[in-house]
Subunit: 358 residues, 2 copies
């Protein structure tokens, strides 16, 4: 007896996406199903290439078919993804999800986190853009080895000039640092800063992006107000270091996203510089800045704790040399970033699914 499409789909109805709480067939995640004797092939289309449950879902499909259809089936599952978007805004319509990387406090590693998340998501196969919105202290040019780089521009058929983001490591990048001499200060008052930042969103040729990561400046000032009021934001990732003086500022940065009129989902908290481990003493963890401050912050606001990043010389060197540490796939830090990126992408997919249900 030949295996039918219906039999396979019926079996896959038993596999539920644990985040979206629906089965894969209902979620329309099974594509290109083809059957030839006992050879069953299909594509599992996830909501993000960074899905941390990739292997689990694949195994579940495998087992469901073996169990409900034919235990001798030869199953070939290809995994792709189609990143969802929060809503059908006409504004920036080719950019699916804008993720803000934020903190009330400066110097906690926002740029490190933003750069490495971008690298990780791009390595997973997502189309990723990165805007460095830290107008007074742009770090992306240094972190990506692009000091002195100047983006070119193209004219559209309608005569509008679009800035072309610079591509590196598969990421499309724009930084206010590309438009100023690295040694020249930018003593701009708020309105000038706000206009400059809007141009990076509106007047650039981003093409299609699954994720546009925005590295915000410290504080809760003009740039924050402008971005949160002008563009649809999928969510904010909060970065902090463990000490009280940093947490105090970070609390405010986080609370800003929950203010009426702003109301942006907080995807979670990342604790940077969690501890220091000397290379020759790998068991020693020095909690130089205190312990578990980020975890406590996440708990007190009831948002996910996304993970901790140790104080590693490689991160500084990576940032300084223009190769974000996440490029080194074997490093512990890279693995940590990969887990964090997965959690963030997963949460966005859940939020998007919830919104489209309403």
């Amino acid at each position: 007896m030949n295996i039918s499409n219906e039999q396979v789909l019926a079996a896959l109805r038993n596999v539920e996406d644990p985040d979206l709480k629906k089965d894969l067939v209902t979620l329309n995640m099974i594509k290109e199903l083809s059957i030839e004797d006992k050879k069953i092939s299909f594509t599992l289309e996830l909501t993000t290439p960074a899905c941390p449950m990739k292997d689990m879902l694949k195994n579940a499909c495998f087992n469901a078919i073996k169990h409900f259809v034919d235990k001798e089936a030869e199953i070939n599952i290809k995994i792709t993804s189609r990143v969802t978007k929060p809503n059908d805004t006409t504004q920036l319509k080719d950019i699916k999800n804008i993720i803000l990387v934020s903190s009330g406090k400066g110097g906690v590693g926002k740029s490190t986190v933003a750069s490495n998340l971008a690298v990780t998501l791009a390595a997973d196969g997502a189309k990723v853009g990165l805007i460095d919105a830290d107008i007074y202290g742009p770090s992306v040019p240094t972190m990506f080895g692009l000091l002195g780089a100047k983006p070119s521009a193209r004219e559209t058929a309608e005569g509008k000039t679009l800035i072309l983001p610079i591509e590196k490591y598969g990421i499309k990048l724009l930084s206010l640092g590309f438009f100023a001499d690295p040694d020249q200060p930018v003593p701009w008052r708020g309105p000038m800063a706000s206009n400059a930042i809007k141009q990076l969103f509106n007047d650039a040729d981003w093409g299609e992006l699954d994720y546009l990561i925005v590295d915000l400046p410290p504080g809760t000032g003009d740039i924050h107000i402008t971005i949160t009021q002008s563009f649809p934001i999928a969510g904010a990732v909060i970065v902090t270091t463990p000490q009280q003086v940093a947490l105090a500022d970070t609390r405010k940065g986080l609370a800003m996203f929950r203010m009426p009129g702003i109301n942006i989902p907080v995807l979670g908290v990342i604790e940077n510089m969690a501890y220091f481990t000397p290379e020759e003493l790998p068991e020693n963890k020095y909690y130089i800045f205190g312990k578990d401050g980020g975890k406590a912050l996440a708990a007190s606001f009831d948002v996910p704790f996304l993970g901790e990043i140790p104080l590693v010389q490689g991160i500084t060197e990576g940032g300084d040399s223009g190769t974000p540490i996440a490029m080194d796939k074997a490093s512990q830090t890279s693995i940590a970033f990969s887990e964090m990126a997965g959690k963030i992408a997963q949460q966005i997919a859940i939020n998007n699914a919830l919104r489209s249900d309403c």
Copy 2:
């Protein structure tokens, strides 16, 4: 033969202040000279209580009198100071020297440096005020154990309301953090922020101050422009950490002070988080963020390198617990801050002397 005032003063004309390049008599630093037989007493009035050459000058006076007047003289030298001011502005006339603690980059330890310099100068006997101008991330309330403190106000005879700074460890403190709920974000655009900061200078009862230290926010934005354009500034101290991404921002922060129309003396560069030394391995220095970046920055701008501060758990704990580490006079860090405060006060005195010569 009795010793005369003239003889003593003639002897002291041989002692030169190495900074001001004039002798102590010409500089009018010898006060209250009294002679009784072989007992010679006078007061040496320095330009700052934090003068690093205190003992050297005292010894030089001692030797000059022994040599030129009478080697059996009993000499009693009292040291006081009268802090000079850069110019006779009518604005903020009771505040002698405003010192900005700045950096292009956030999180490099500006607040730590500002707080500990204030503590050190006050301990030396100077009248010190501290303004926390980091509107979006005020750290002074935490660092001085004043979370939740609210300054009171008094009315002047003219009916003007003056904010009363809060006093702690002999320092008069004002922070924008005193006027906001610690958990409440302050999403203010530039003009509101600028007005708020001006009030801390103009509408507060500072009384007489030798030094008013201002802890600036990161960047080169509204607050910086407002303060540098509105008030007479004695100089700026630049704080950085050693990594390239911090230095890049710090270069801009420093360059801002040299822009035409701003033109504020840069008193020097302090390198924070220079290295980490675990308590049980005091010989090990881990240069987590790279090495000598601050020194190189100071050299490239031809400004003094004021010193380095190691990454010490005590600094974090001090900051978090409300007792700046410089309060512990025996600590290495405290000694480092004391040297830095001396160099800063010394430079200001030199600059003030040069200006009054013109």
